[in-house]
């Protein structure tokens, strides 16, 4: 068992544990904070895989922007437990049953597909530049240029829509009025 493997197993365990905490801690703020930890672990996993650029983006966009929005809204609303609604919406048993079923099916698929069980190739075997900004950009902006464009349009639309939503009831909330406009 070499270092990478050790790190991998530790990261995997951390990911699952923090994932569980995200999913099942009752308060949203705790979920959000554990989500950051989860994302940082994810980022570390990306570094382990050699995808440095994606690792940075994971922190920059997910942890640095998206989760900030969550914490921002949680703080803005500052809800009490009644308003939060902490009871379960769907019976536990059904979740366990269904996720178990899907898991079993996935496991069957995995076992049935031996090539999935092969070790990942070492980085040197790939082009040495895999995962760097340069090589990624060459793929993303040439081969996948349309998905890039679509992403851009999507962002533009999101900005417009959020602006509209925020201006819908300008007088309803006084304290966070200008704030929520600007989180868009």
């Amino acid at each position: 068992m070499n270092l990478q493997e050790v790190v991998f197993y530790i990261l995997g365990a951390l990911l699952l544990i923090t994932g569980g905490l995200v999913a099942f801690r009752p308060k949203p703020i705790e979920s959000a904070l554990w989500l950051i930890v989860n994302f940082i672990c994810t980022s570390a996993l990306y570094v382990l895989l050699g995808a440095h650029f994606v690792a940075v983006i994971q922190i920059l966009v997910y942890a640095g922007a998206i989760v900030v929005l969550f914490t921002f809204v949680i703080m803005l609303l500052n809800l009490n437990p009644q308003e939060l609604g902490l009871t379960a919406a769907v019976p536990w048993t059904s979740i366990v049953l269904i996720s178990g079923t899907i898991g079993v099916i996935f496991l069957c698929l995995h076992v049935a597909t031996p090539e999935l069980l092969k070790d990942l190739p070492a980085l040197a075997e790939n082009a040495g530049t895999w995962g760097t900004l340069e090589s990624f950009s060459k793929v993303f902006l040439v081969k996948y240029v349309w998905s890039f464009e679509i992403a851009g349009v999507l962002l533009l639309m999101a900005v417009l829509v959020v602006g509209l939503l925020a201006h819908h009831h300008p007088k309803a909330v006084t304290a966070g009025k200008s704030l929520e406009k600007d989180i868009s």
Partner: protein
């Protein structure tokens, strides 16, 4: 044995050097400088009791903060209340991991090949800095929220909104610089500026980046998160002792790292002058040195000092601005961010890219 340990020792040395300089040196000195400069600007004397010119004032303050009773206000959300200062310091400290503070060196012949004076060489480069600095918002946000204080919450909300907004503009300015240099690696970026510093072709990017970093570090004229007149001191109203000290430290640390990045990106890092490198100077003086410092380690140290000088000049700019400009209103801050800086940054990227494609 030494050969095996050398890289590790070198790494350790770099880390210690950094933390020593930044947290032990730069931050206390900066606090002293801040007070002295403010006194100068306001025509006062400033600290002058502890040590020569009051130089040891920061040390005294530090000792006081550490020794103070750790107060815990009523109704705070305990884990987050204690977590927040730590979360504020961690990104500040992490941001130094990728900052090179001098040219690649062999440390007077200790190494076969020149080693970078940089703790870690991530190939994401300057993006890592953006990522880490974007995390610093959590410390502020949690501190404000967990303090059970309306002023603190308001400060935290303002801080998080402000930081997200200005991160966009700063990121886009960085993209322009990346375009100009063709790399995200800070060392390569400095090398790319040997003939012309990025401040000239990237002037508008700098124009966007400067206000953006002021806002990101919560400094005047954008320190709405802790504006005394409105919010007492904002998110750290309820903090005292060493916990407050950590916030204070983080602020100056991140200020330093961002100044360093700014110098690296726009002002040629440790390069002597556009079109006239240190090696040229050494050759002109017939010293036989190189920046790699193989013959004489001074060849490396002098450029590093030059770099630190530039950073200090930048830090001075921070202080100068703080005590000169008045504070913006919050809505002004937001409209500057979204309606001025962001379009300007996008336009700048477009024009720069078009020009680069054409020329």
């Amino acid at each position: 044995m030494f050969e095996v340990l050398l890289p590790w020792l070198f790494l350790l040395g770099k880390i210690l050097l950094f933390f020593g300089i930044v947290f032990g040196g730069v931050a206390p000195v900066m606090i002293w400088v801040e007070r002295k400069v403010s006194a100068l600007i306001q025509d006062r004397v400033g600290p002058n009791r502890v040590g020569p010119f009051g130089l040891l004032q920061s040390l005294a303050d530090g000792i006081k903060l550490v020794l103070k009773e750790p107060l815990e206000p009523e109704g705070v959300v305990k884990p987050y209340y204690y977590l927040a200062p730590i979360l504020a310091v961690i990104p500040a400290a992490l941001s130094f991991a990728i900052i090179p503070f001098g040219p690649a060196t062999t440390l007077g012949g200790l190494f076969e090949t020149p080693q970078r004076l940089q703790i870690s060489n991530l190939n994401a480069g300057v993006l890592f800095l953006l990522a880490v600095s974007s995390l610093s918002v959590y410390g502020v946000a949690l501190a404000g929220w967990s303090s059970n204080n309306k002023f603190s919450v308001m400060g935290a909300l303002r801080a998080s909104a402000q930081m997200i907004s200005y991160e966009l503009a700063a990121g886009l300015a960085v993209v322009t610089v990346i375009l100009l240099s063709g790399t995200v690696d800070l060392v390569s970026m400095v090398e790319a500026q040997s003939s012309m510093w990025n401040i000239v072709p990237g002037f508008f990017a700098f124009l966007v980046f400067l206000p953006a970093i002021f806002a990101e570090t919560n400094r005047l004229p954008f320190d709405l998160a802790e504006s005394e007149a409105e919010l007492v001191v904002g998110y750290h109203t309820e903090y005292s002792g060493i916990k407050f000290g950590l916030f204070f430290l983080a602020e100056y640390a991140i200020m330093t790292s961002i100044s360093a990045v700014c110098v690296l990106m726009f002002f040629g890092g440790w390069e002597l002058w556009p079109g006239f490198s240190w090696n040229d100077l050494y050759a002109a003086l017939n010293l036989g040195w190189t920046t790699e410092g193989t013959t004489n380690i001074l060849g490396t140290i002098i450029p590093s000092v030059w770099f630190v000088t530039k950073v200090c000049a930048f830090l001075f700019l921070f202080v100068w601005v703080r005590w000169t400009l008045p504070r913006f209103r919050y809505d002004q801050l937001m409209s500057i961010g979204w309606k001025r800086l962001l379009p300007l940054a996008i336009l700048n990227i477009t024009i720069t890219a078009a020009l680069m494609a054409l020329v």
